[in-house]
Symmetry: C2
Subunit: 216 residues, 2 copies
Protein backbone atom coordinates (compact mmCIF):
# COMPACT_ATOMS: atom_id res chain seq x y z
CA UNK A 1 0.00 0.00 0.00
CA UNK A 2 1.28 3.45 -0.89
CA UNK A 3 2.02 6.14 1.72
CA UNK A 4 -0.71 8.42 0.42
CA UNK A 5 -4.11 7.40 -0.94
CA UNK A 6 -6.05 10.07 -2.82
CA UNK A 7 -9.76 9.48 -3.48
CA UNK A 8 -10.21 11.19 -6.85
CA UNK A 9 -11.35 10.97 -10.45
CA UNK A 10 -9.89 12.28 -13.68
CA UNK A 11 -12.44 15.01 -14.39
CA UNK A 12 -12.05 16.62 -10.95
CA UNK A 13 -9.84 19.68 -11.02
CA UNK A 14 -10.15 19.92 -7.24
CA UNK A 15 -8.62 16.43 -7.05
CA UNK A 16 -5.96 17.45 -9.54
CA UNK A 17 -4.63 20.06 -7.09
CA UNK A 18 -3.28 17.53 -4.53
CA UNK A 19 -2.59 14.90 -7.24
CA UNK A 20 -0.31 17.41 -8.98
CA UNK A 21 1.41 18.23 -5.69
CA UNK A 22 2.02 14.52 -5.01
CA UNK A 23 3.33 14.00 -8.55
CA UNK A 24 5.66 17.02 -8.43
CA UNK A 25 7.04 15.84 -5.08
CA UNK A 26 7.60 12.30 -6.35
CA UNK A 27 5.59 11.05 -3.35
CA UNK A 28 4.60 7.42 -2.91
CA UNK A 29 0.88 7.75 -3.64
CA UNK A 30 -1.95 5.96 -5.36
CA UNK A 31 -5.31 7.18 -6.60
CA UNK A 32 -8.53 5.52 -5.45
CA UNK A 33 -11.17 5.96 -8.11
CA UNK A 34 -14.40 7.63 -6.95
CA UNK A 35 -17.17 6.91 -9.45
CA UNK A 36 -18.54 10.43 -9.13
CA UNK A 37 -20.69 10.22 -12.24
CA UNK A 38 -22.38 7.13 -10.82
CA UNK A 39 -23.13 8.98 -7.57
CA UNK A 40 -20.36 7.42 -5.46
CA UNK A 41 -19.69 10.65 -3.54
CA UNK A 42 -23.36 10.95 -2.55
CA UNK A 43 -23.62 7.59 -0.79
CA UNK A 44 -23.97 7.32 3.00
CA UNK A 45 -20.64 5.46 3.07
CA UNK A 46 -18.86 8.35 1.42
CA UNK A 47 -20.67 10.96 3.54
CA UNK A 48 -19.41 9.09 6.59
CA UNK A 49 -15.87 9.71 5.31
CA UNK A 50 -16.67 13.34 4.45
CA UNK A 51 -19.86 15.15 5.52
CA UNK A 52 -19.26 17.66 2.73
CA UNK A 53 -19.68 14.84 0.20
CA UNK A 54 -16.81 16.17 -1.83
CA UNK A 55 -13.84 14.79 -3.70
CA UNK A 56 -10.83 14.77 -3.13
CA UNK A 57 -10.14 12.99 0.13
CA UNK A 58 -6.63 12.11 1.30
CA UNK A 59 -5.74 9.24 3.57
CA UNK A 60 -2.32 9.26 5.19
CA UNK A 61 -0.95 7.82 8.42
CA UNK A 62 -4.43 7.32 9.87
CA UNK A 63 -5.59 10.83 8.94
CA UNK A 64 -8.51 11.49 6.61
CA UNK A 65 -8.42 14.97 5.13
CA UNK A 66 -10.91 16.76 2.91
CA UNK A 67 -10.94 20.13 1.12
CA UNK A 68 -8.18 20.51 -1.46
CA UNK A 69 -6.80 23.57 0.37
CA UNK A 70 -6.43 21.62 3.60
CA UNK A 71 -4.83 18.68 1.79
CA UNK A 72 -2.34 20.98 0.08
CA UNK A 73 -1.49 22.60 3.41
CA UNK A 74 -1.01 19.18 4.98
CA UNK A 75 1.15 17.90 2.11
CA UNK A 76 3.35 21.00 2.15
CA UNK A 77 4.12 20.29 5.79
CA UNK A 78 4.42 16.48 5.44
CA UNK A 79 6.58 16.66 2.32
CA UNK A 80 8.50 19.76 3.39
CA UNK A 81 8.12 21.73 0.19
CA UNK A 82 5.94 24.23 -1.73
CA UNK A 83 4.69 25.67 1.57
CA UNK A 84 5.25 29.08 3.18
CA UNK A 85 8.56 30.04 4.75
CA UNK A 86 7.13 32.74 7.03
CA UNK A 87 3.83 34.19 8.26
CA UNK A 88 3.52 36.73 5.48
CA UNK A 89 3.91 34.02 2.83
CA UNK A 90 1.51 31.81 4.75
CA UNK A 91 -1.21 34.46 4.60
CA UNK A 92 -0.49 35.26 0.96
CA UNK A 93 -0.90 31.56 0.12
CA UNK A 94 -4.12 31.49 2.16
CA UNK A 95 -5.39 34.63 0.45
CA UNK A 96 -5.02 33.17 -3.03
CA UNK A 97 -6.28 29.75 -1.98
CA UNK A 98 -9.44 31.40 -0.63
CA UNK A 99 -9.86 33.52 -3.76
CA UNK A 100 -9.42 30.34 -5.78
CA UNK A 101 -12.07 28.45 -3.82
CA UNK A 102 -14.49 31.34 -3.70
CA UNK A 103 -14.18 32.56 -7.27
CA UNK A 104 -11.45 31.32 -9.61
CA UNK A 105 -11.98 27.57 -9.39
CA UNK A 106 -15.60 27.84 -8.28
CA UNK A 107 -16.84 29.75 -11.31
CA UNK A 108 -14.48 28.04 -13.76
CA UNK A 109 -15.41 24.55 -12.60
CA UNK A 110 -19.13 25.28 -12.69
CA UNK A 111 -18.86 26.82 -16.15
CA UNK A 112 -17.07 23.70 -17.40
CA UNK A 113 -19.55 21.42 -15.66
CA UNK A 114 -22.51 23.18 -17.27
CA UNK A 115 -20.84 23.14 -20.69
CA UNK A 116 -19.67 19.53 -20.66
CA UNK A 117 -21.91 17.56 -18.33
CA UNK A 118 -25.34 19.15 -18.04
CA UNK A 119 -27.60 18.82 -21.07
CA UNK A 120 -29.93 21.71 -21.86
CA UNK A 121 -28.58 24.20 -19.31
CA UNK A 122 -30.45 27.50 -19.43
CA UNK A 123 -28.20 29.90 -21.39
CA UNK A 124 -28.75 32.62 -18.75
CA UNK A 125 -27.17 30.37 -16.13
CA UNK A 126 -24.15 29.57 -18.27
CA UNK A 127 -23.76 33.24 -19.16
CA UNK A 128 -23.74 34.26 -15.52
CA UNK A 129 -20.99 31.79 -14.65
CA UNK A 130 -18.99 32.80 -17.71
CA UNK A 131 -19.16 36.48 -16.71
CA UNK A 132 -18.02 35.66 -13.18
CA UNK A 133 -15.28 33.29 -14.35
CA UNK A 134 -13.95 35.92 -16.76
CA UNK A 135 -13.78 38.47 -13.94
CA UNK A 136 -11.80 36.01 -11.83
CA UNK A 137 -9.45 35.19 -14.73
CA UNK A 138 -8.84 38.93 -15.16
CA UNK A 139 -7.92 39.30 -11.48
CA UNK A 140 -5.35 36.51 -11.68
CA UNK A 141 -4.01 37.74 -15.02
CA UNK A 142 -3.53 41.22 -13.53
CA UNK A 143 -1.86 39.78 -10.45
CA UNK A 144 0.56 37.72 -12.55
CA UNK A 145 1.71 40.76 -14.54
CA UNK A 146 5.39 40.98 -13.72
CA UNK A 147 5.22 37.94 -11.43
CA UNK A 148 6.29 34.37 -12.11
CA UNK A 149 4.35 32.74 -9.29
CA UNK A 150 1.23 33.64 -7.35
CA UNK A 151 2.25 33.96 -3.70
CA UNK A 152 6.06 33.92 -3.49
CA UNK A 153 9.17 34.07 -5.65
CA UNK A 154 8.85 30.32 -6.16
CA UNK A 155 5.96 27.97 -6.87
CA UNK A 156 3.76 27.20 -3.85
CA UNK A 157 0.58 25.30 -3.12
CA UNK A 158 -1.34 28.50 -4.03
CA UNK A 159 -0.21 27.99 -7.64
CA UNK A 160 -1.34 24.36 -7.60
CA UNK A 161 -4.73 25.33 -6.16
CA UNK A 162 -5.36 27.92 -8.87
CA UNK A 163 -4.09 25.52 -11.56
CA UNK A 164 -6.84 22.95 -10.87
CA UNK A 165 -8.88 23.63 -14.01
CA UNK A 166 -6.59 25.64 -16.29
CA UNK A 167 -5.39 22.70 -18.41
CA UNK A 168 -8.89 22.18 -19.85
CA UNK A 169 -9.25 25.33 -22.00
CA UNK A 170 -11.45 23.56 -24.58
CA UNK A 171 -13.82 22.31 -21.92
CA UNK A 172 -13.98 25.70 -20.18
CA UNK A 173 -14.27 27.47 -23.51
CA UNK A 174 -11.33 29.86 -23.14
CA UNK A 175 -8.24 30.62 -25.18
CA UNK A 176 -5.58 31.56 -22.64
CA UNK A 177 -3.92 33.83 -25.20
CA UNK A 178 -6.58 36.32 -24.07
CA UNK A 179 -5.05 36.07 -20.58
CA UNK A 180 -1.36 35.91 -21.50
CA UNK A 181 -0.01 36.02 -17.94
CA UNK A 182 -2.16 33.03 -17.00
CA UNK A 183 -1.02 31.26 -20.18
CA UNK A 184 2.65 31.79 -19.35
CA UNK A 185 2.21 30.87 -15.67
CA UNK A 186 0.36 27.65 -16.59
CA UNK A 187 3.25 26.80 -18.95
CA UNK A 188 5.76 27.41 -16.13
CA UNK A 189 3.88 24.95 -13.92
CA UNK A 190 3.68 22.43 -16.76
CA UNK A 191 7.47 22.69 -17.14
CA UNK A 192 8.11 21.58 -13.55
CA UNK A 193 9.68 18.08 -13.42
CA UNK A 194 6.99 15.47 -12.78
CA UNK A 195 4.09 17.52 -14.15
CA UNK A 196 1.29 15.61 -15.84
CA UNK A 197 -2.06 16.58 -17.31
CA UNK A 198 -5.01 15.67 -15.03
CA UNK A 199 -6.24 13.04 -17.48
CA UNK A 200 -2.81 11.35 -17.28
CA UNK A 201 -2.65 11.51 -13.50
CA UNK A 202 -6.03 10.27 -12.26
CA UNK A 203 -8.36 7.42 -13.28
CA UNK A 204 -11.70 7.52 -15.07
CA UNK A 205 -11.11 9.27 -18.39
CA UNK A 206 -12.57 9.16 -20.94
CA UNK A 207 -16.06 9.01 -19.57
CA UNK A 208 -18.44 6.95 -21.71
CA UNK A 209 -20.36 9.28 -23.96
CA UNK A 210 -18.29 12.29 -22.92
CA UNK A 211 -17.87 15.17 -25.32
CA UNK A 212 -17.54 18.93 -25.36
CA UNK A 213 -20.87 20.28 -26.49
CA UNK A 214 -20.02 23.90 -25.69
CA UNK A 215 -22.44 26.67 -24.88
CA UNK A 216 -25.74 27.62 -26.33
CA UNK B 1 -7.18 56.73 15.14
CA UNK B 2 -8.32 53.26 16.16
CA UNK B 3 -5.95 50.27 16.23
CA UNK B 4 -7.87 48.47 13.50
CA UNK B 5 -9.56 50.01 10.46
CA UNK B 6 -11.98 47.81 8.55
CA UNK B 7 -13.06 48.89 5.07
CA UNK B 8 -16.63 47.60 4.94
CA UNK B 9 -20.31 48.32 4.38
CA UNK B 10 -23.45 47.17 6.16
CA UNK B 11 -24.82 44.84 3.49
CA UNK B 12 -21.56 42.87 3.18
CA UNK B 13 -21.67 39.59 5.06
CA UNK B 14 -18.05 39.02 4.16
CA UNK B 15 -17.25 42.25 6.00
CA UNK B 16 -19.44 41.17 8.89
CA UNK B 17 -17.16 38.20 9.56
CA UNK B 18 -14.18 40.28 10.76
CA UNK B 19 -16.44 43.06 12.11
CA UNK B 20 -18.13 40.49 14.35
CA UNK B 21 -14.76 39.15 15.47
CA UNK B 22 -13.56 42.67 16.35
CA UNK B 23 -16.80 43.38 18.23
CA UNK B 24 -16.73 40.12 20.19
CA UNK B 25 -13.10 40.78 21.16
CA UNK B 26 -13.84 44.34 22.25
CA UNK B 27 -11.03 45.50 19.98
CA UNK B 28 -10.30 49.16 19.31
CA UNK B 29 -11.56 49.36 15.72
CA UNK B 30 -13.43 51.63 13.36
CA UNK B 31 -15.25 50.94 10.14
CA UNK B 32 -14.35 52.85 6.99
CA UNK B 33 -17.39 53.00 4.72
CA UNK B 34 -16.89 51.60 1.20
CA UNK B 35 -19.64 52.90 -1.08
CA UNK B 36 -19.91 49.57 -2.85
CA UNK B 37 -23.25 50.35 -4.47
CA UNK B 38 -21.71 53.44 -6.02
CA UNK B 39 -18.82 51.38 -7.43
CA UNK B 40 -16.18 52.37 -4.86
CA UNK B 41 -14.58 48.91 -4.83
CA UNK B 42 -14.15 48.94 -8.61
CA UNK B 43 -12.06 52.11 -8.79
CA UNK B 44 -8.34 52.03 -9.69
CA UNK B 45 -7.60 53.48 -6.23
CA UNK B 46 -9.32 50.56 -4.52
CA UNK B 47 -7.79 47.99 -6.88
CA UNK B 48 -4.38 49.38 -5.89
CA UNK B 49 -5.25 48.48 -2.30
CA UNK B 50 -6.65 45.08 -3.33
CA UNK B 51 -6.23 43.59 -6.81
CA UNK B 52 -9.21 41.31 -6.06
CA UNK B 53 -11.42 44.41 -5.81
CA UNK B 54 -13.18 42.96 -2.80
CA UNK B 55 -14.46 44.16 0.55
CA UNK B 56 -13.48 43.75 3.42
CA UNK B 57 -9.97 45.09 3.79
CA UNK B 58 -8.26 45.43 7.16
CA UNK B 59 -5.55 47.94 8.01
CA UNK B 60 -3.50 47.34 11.12
CA UNK B 61 0.05 48.27 12.14
CA UNK B 62 1.07 49.02 8.55
CA UNK B 63 -0.43 45.79 7.19
CA UNK B 64 -3.20 45.72 4.60
CA UNK B 65 -5.05 42.42 4.55
CA UNK B 66 -7.79 41.17 2.25
CA UNK B 67 -9.95 38.02 2.13
CA UNK B 68 -12.15 37.60 5.19
CA UNK B 69 -10.55 34.22 5.97
CA UNK B 70 -7.09 35.77 6.05
CA UNK B 71 -8.29 38.68 8.18
CA UNK B 72 -9.92 36.29 10.66
CA UNK B 73 -6.71 34.24 10.84
CA UNK B 74 -4.70 37.41 11.42
CA UNK B 75 -7.07 38.71 14.11
CA UNK B 76 -7.10 35.37 15.95
CA UNK B 77 -3.34 35.63 16.23
CA UNK B 78 -3.18 39.36 16.97
CA UNK B 79 -5.98 39.26 19.55
CA UNK B 80 -5.02 35.88 20.94
CA UNK B 81 -8.47 34.30 20.84
CA UNK B 82 -10.95 32.29 18.73
CA UNK B 83 -8.03 30.66 16.87
CA UNK B 84 -6.78 27.07 16.83
CA UNK B 85 -4.91 25.56 19.74
CA UNK B 86 -3.17 22.84 17.71
CA UNK B 87 -2.55 21.67 14.15
CA UNK B 88 -5.66 19.48 13.98
CA UNK B 89 -7.90 22.39 15.04
CA UNK B 90 -6.06 24.67 12.63
CA UNK B 91 -6.88 22.36 9.71
CA UNK B 92 -10.47 21.89 10.86
CA UNK B 93 -10.91 25.67 10.97
CA UNK B 94 -9.34 25.92 7.53
CA UNK B 95 -11.57 23.14 6.20
CA UNK B 96 -14.78 24.89 7.23
CA UNK B 97 -13.50 28.31 6.19
CA UNK B 98 -12.79 26.91 2.72
CA UNK B 99 -16.18 25.20 2.54
CA UNK B 100 -17.73 28.49 3.59
CA UNK B 101 -15.94 30.47 0.91
CA UNK B 102 -16.50 27.87 -1.81
CA UNK B 103 -20.12 27.01 -1.09
CA UNK B 104 -21.91 28.16 2.07
CA UNK B 105 -21.30 31.90 1.89
CA UNK B 106 -20.73 31.94 -1.84
CA UNK B 107 -24.12 30.52 -2.82
CA UNK B 108 -26.01 32.16 0.05
CA UNK B 109 -24.58 35.61 -0.68
CA UNK B 110 -25.26 35.33 -4.39
CA UNK B 111 -28.81 34.14 -3.79
CA UNK B 112 -29.44 37.14 -1.53
CA UNK B 113 -27.78 39.50 -3.99
CA UNK B 114 -29.97 38.26 -6.84
CA UNK B 115 -33.11 38.47 -4.69
CA UNK B 116 -32.49 41.89 -3.18
CA UNK B 117 -30.27 43.87 -5.51
CA UNK B 118 -30.64 42.67 -9.11
CA UNK B 119 -33.89 43.58 -10.83
CA UNK B 120 -35.34 41.07 -13.28
CA UNK B 121 -32.94 38.21 -12.60
CA UNK B 122 -33.69 35.18 -14.76
CA UNK B 123 -35.59 32.74 -12.50
CA UNK B 124 -33.39 29.85 -13.72
CA UNK B 125 -30.34 31.62 -12.33
CA UNK B 126 -31.93 32.27 -8.95
CA UNK B 127 -33.20 28.68 -8.82
CA UNK B 128 -29.73 27.30 -9.45
CA UNK B 129 -28.20 29.33 -6.62
CA UNK B 130 -31.07 28.40 -4.30
CA UNK B 131 -30.53 24.68 -5.00
CA UNK B 132 -26.81 25.00 -4.32
CA UNK B 133 -27.31 27.13 -1.21
CA UNK B 134 -29.80 24.63 0.19
CA UNK B 135 -27.31 21.80 -0.32
CA UNK B 136 -24.66 23.79 1.58
CA UNK B 137 -27.13 24.60 4.40
CA UNK B 138 -27.89 20.88 4.66
CA UNK B 139 -24.20 20.02 5.00
CA UNK B 140 -23.72 22.51 7.85
CA UNK B 141 -26.97 21.48 9.52
CA UNK B 142 -25.85 17.82 9.42
CA UNK B 143 -22.41 18.73 10.76
CA UNK B 144 -23.92 20.70 13.65
CA UNK B 145 -26.07 17.76 14.76
CA UNK B 146 -24.78 17.03 18.24
CA UNK B 147 -22.20 19.82 18.03
CA UNK B 148 -22.31 23.29 19.56
CA UNK B 149 -19.60 24.84 17.40
CA UNK B 150 -18.21 24.13 13.96
CA UNK B 151 -14.53 23.32 14.39
CA UNK B 152 -13.80 22.87 18.10
CA UNK B 153 -15.52 22.59 21.48
CA UNK B 154 -15.62 26.38 21.63
CA UNK B 155 -16.43 29.11 19.11
CA UNK B 156 -13.68 29.83 16.60
CA UNK B 157 -13.16 32.00 13.55
CA UNK B 158 -14.71 29.17 11.48
CA UNK B 159 -18.05 29.91 13.16
CA UNK B 160 -17.73 33.63 12.43
CA UNK B 161 -16.88 32.91 8.79
CA UNK B 162 -19.94 30.72 8.29
CA UNK B 163 -22.14 33.21 10.17
CA UNK B 164 -21.52 35.99 7.65
CA UNK B 165 -24.96 35.89 6.04
CA UNK B 166 -27.14 33.87 8.41
CA UNK B 167 -28.71 36.84 10.21
CA UNK B 168 -30.54 37.89 7.06
CA UNK B 169 -33.07 35.06 6.68
CA UNK B 170 -35.70 37.31 5.07
CA UNK B 171 -33.25 38.57 2.49
CA UNK B 172 -31.97 35.07 1.72
CA UNK B 173 -35.48 33.67 1.74
CA UNK B 174 -35.02 30.95 4.34
CA UNK B 175 -36.69 30.04 7.59
CA UNK B 176 -33.95 28.54 9.75
CA UNK B 177 -36.50 26.38 11.53
CA UNK B 178 -36.05 24.09 8.49
CA UNK B 179 -32.37 23.80 9.50
CA UNK B 180 -32.76 23.64 13.28
CA UNK B 181 -29.10 23.01 14.07
CA UNK B 182 -28.11 26.10 12.11
CA UNK B 183 -30.88 28.04 13.88
CA UNK B 184 -29.61 26.99 17.33
CA UNK B 185 -25.95 27.57 16.44
CA UNK B 186 -26.73 31.08 15.09
CA UNK B 187 -28.55 31.80 18.36
CA UNK B 188 -25.50 30.63 20.34
CA UNK B 189 -23.29 33.05 18.41
CA UNK B 190 -25.85 35.85 18.92
CA UNK B 191 -25.72 35.18 22.67
CA UNK B 192 -21.96 35.85 22.87
CA UNK B 193 -21.22 39.10 24.77
CA UNK B 194 -20.66 41.94 22.32
CA UNK B 195 -22.64 40.40 19.44
CA UNK B 196 -24.43 42.80 17.13
CA UNK B 197 -26.45 42.36 13.96
CA UNK B 198 -24.51 43.39 10.82
CA UNK B 199 -26.78 46.39 10.25
CA UNK B 200 -25.91 47.62 13.74
CA UNK B 201 -22.19 47.06 13.33
CA UNK B 202 -21.29 48.57 9.95
CA UNK B 203 -22.27 51.76 8.11
CA UNK B 204 -24.49 52.23 5.08
CA UNK B 205 -27.88 50.78 5.95
CA UNK B 206 -30.59 51.32 4.89
CA UNK B 207 -29.68 51.73 1.29
CA UNK B 208 -31.86 54.27 -0.53
CA UNK B 209 -34.61 52.41 -2.34
CA UNK B 210 -33.66 49.10 -0.75
CA UNK B 211 -36.31 46.46 -0.29
CA UNK B 212 -36.75 42.69 -0.32
CA UNK B 213 -38.44 41.86 -3.60
CA UNK B 214 -37.97 38.12 -3.25
CA UNK B 215 -37.86 35.59 -6.02
CA UNK B 216 -39.86 35.15 -9.14
Amino acid sequence: MADYTLHCFAQSGNSYKPALMLALCGADWEPRFVEFFKGASRTPEYRALNVMGEVPLLEHAGHKLSQSGVILDYLAEALGTYGPSNDIERREILRWTLFDNHKFTSYTATLRYLRCYVPNTDPAVTAMFRTRAEAAWKVLDDHLTGREWVAARRPTIADFSLAGYVYWPDEIGVDWKDYPHIRDWAARIAALPGWKHPYDLMPGHPLAGWNIPGEK
